[in-house]
């Protein structure tokens, strides 16, 4: 497989369990085992759109229990003889190779995947992706001339990786305690992005927009706005260096 591979560095790796849940888009080449009309392929793809059942393949890292995954779209881009080019938008954890095999079953001809390229991973698209050479060049430019312009185009702030989660901005006085793993109390909140559902994963940020931690909302947006006291967010993963902000609790 080729394409978008999101890498987190240093303490940004603490948020990996959240970035794993990103939806993905792939473009790939499939091969049908005997000749089929384009219209039939299209209608089989339509049938495989929406909620589908998948059993993870024998060689996989997860439990092989039957599970459901959502296919947002599954389009035929081009077809020539038995080979076809497709684009598919999937929920994370969808096995595209399996999906193409299922397409072959529906067509009653069999089919397999020949090539696959990831074009979107959550908030990141193919156009954002850089080669290892770009990374090397950016480091060299910075080391040689102190020019960080290219480096900053490649090393994006960790905050970009959690752009899909609602943010809760907290007062400076609450930052250090959250960094030490304390729950966030409603009194520590300055503002937040609506809507937030109870138990939804949220990004706790400083007033400057720095990611402090990821956590699970204990209240929905209306309670977060109105409640005078209580726990707002249960902190799950701290990202910020705990010594960056001064301790302000007594």
């Amino acid at each position: 497989m080729t394409g978008v591979l999101v890498v987190l560095t240093g303490s940004a790796t603490n948020i990996m369990s959240y970035t794993h849940t990103f939806n993905k888009e792939y473009v790939g080449v499939g091969e049908i085992h005997s000749k089929v009309k384009e219209a039939r392929v299209k209608s089989a793809m339509k049938e495989l759109t929406g909620e589908i059942y998948q059993r993870p393949p024998v060689r996989s890292a997860v439990s092989r229990r039957l599970r459901t995954r959502e296919i947002f779209y599954f389009d035929l881009l081009e077809m020539k003889d038995r080979r076809f080019l497709f684009k598919v938008g999937t929920e994370s954890g969808t096995y595209v190779r399996k999906l193409i095999n299922d397409l072959g079953l529906l067509l009653r001809t069999g089919a397999h995947m020949a090539e696959l390229r990831r074009t979107i991973d959550g908030p990141f698209v193919e156009q954002d992706a850089h080669s290892m050479w770009d990374v090397a060049a950016s480091l060299e430019l910075y080391q040689r001339n102190g020019d960080d312009s290219l480096l900053r185009k490649i090393f994006l702030p960790v905050e970009n990786a959690v752009a899909t989660f609602p943010s809760i901005y907290i007062k400076d006085s609450a930052v250090a305690s959250v960094c030490h793993g304390a729950s966030l109390a409603v009194g520590g909140i300055s503002s937040f992005e609506e809507p937030i559902a109870q138990h939804e994963i949220v990004a706790i940020k400083s007033l400057k927009g720095e990611l402090v931690a990821m956590g699970r909302a204990n209240k929905d947006s209306s309670a977060l706005a109105a409640d005078k006291t209580g726990m707002a967010v249960a902190v799950e993963r701290v990202v910020m260096d705990r010594n960056l902000y001064p301790k302000m609790w007594r």
Partner: protein, 78 residues
């Protein structure tokens, strides 16, 4: 098309509970974080080529950064 996959990235409304001013004595604007801090708190979107596995790519990436940040032991894991 993209919306299907990126549907959770809708524009959200900001609700202010209590106005508060940030202090500039500590912390940084994420976009102007000093380079040494940024490199240990970053997202890098790589374009993986055919051949090496994702694991290999990350290993190469880690090695590349380590060489350039000689003397530092910034952990870089995927």
């Amino acid at each position: 098309m993209l919306e299907g996959v990126r549907k959770s990235q809708k524009t959200r409304k900001l609700i202010v509970r209590e106005e508060s001013e940030p202090s500039w004595e500590y912390g940084h604007n994420p976009r102007s974080r000093p380079v040494d801090l940024l490199m240990n708190l970053a997202t890098v979107v790589l374009d993986k080529q055919k051949g090496p596995t994702s694991h290999d790519v990350v290993a190469t990436f880690k090695r590349l950064i380590k060489i350039d940040r000689a003397g530092h032991t910034g952990t870089l894991v995927i």
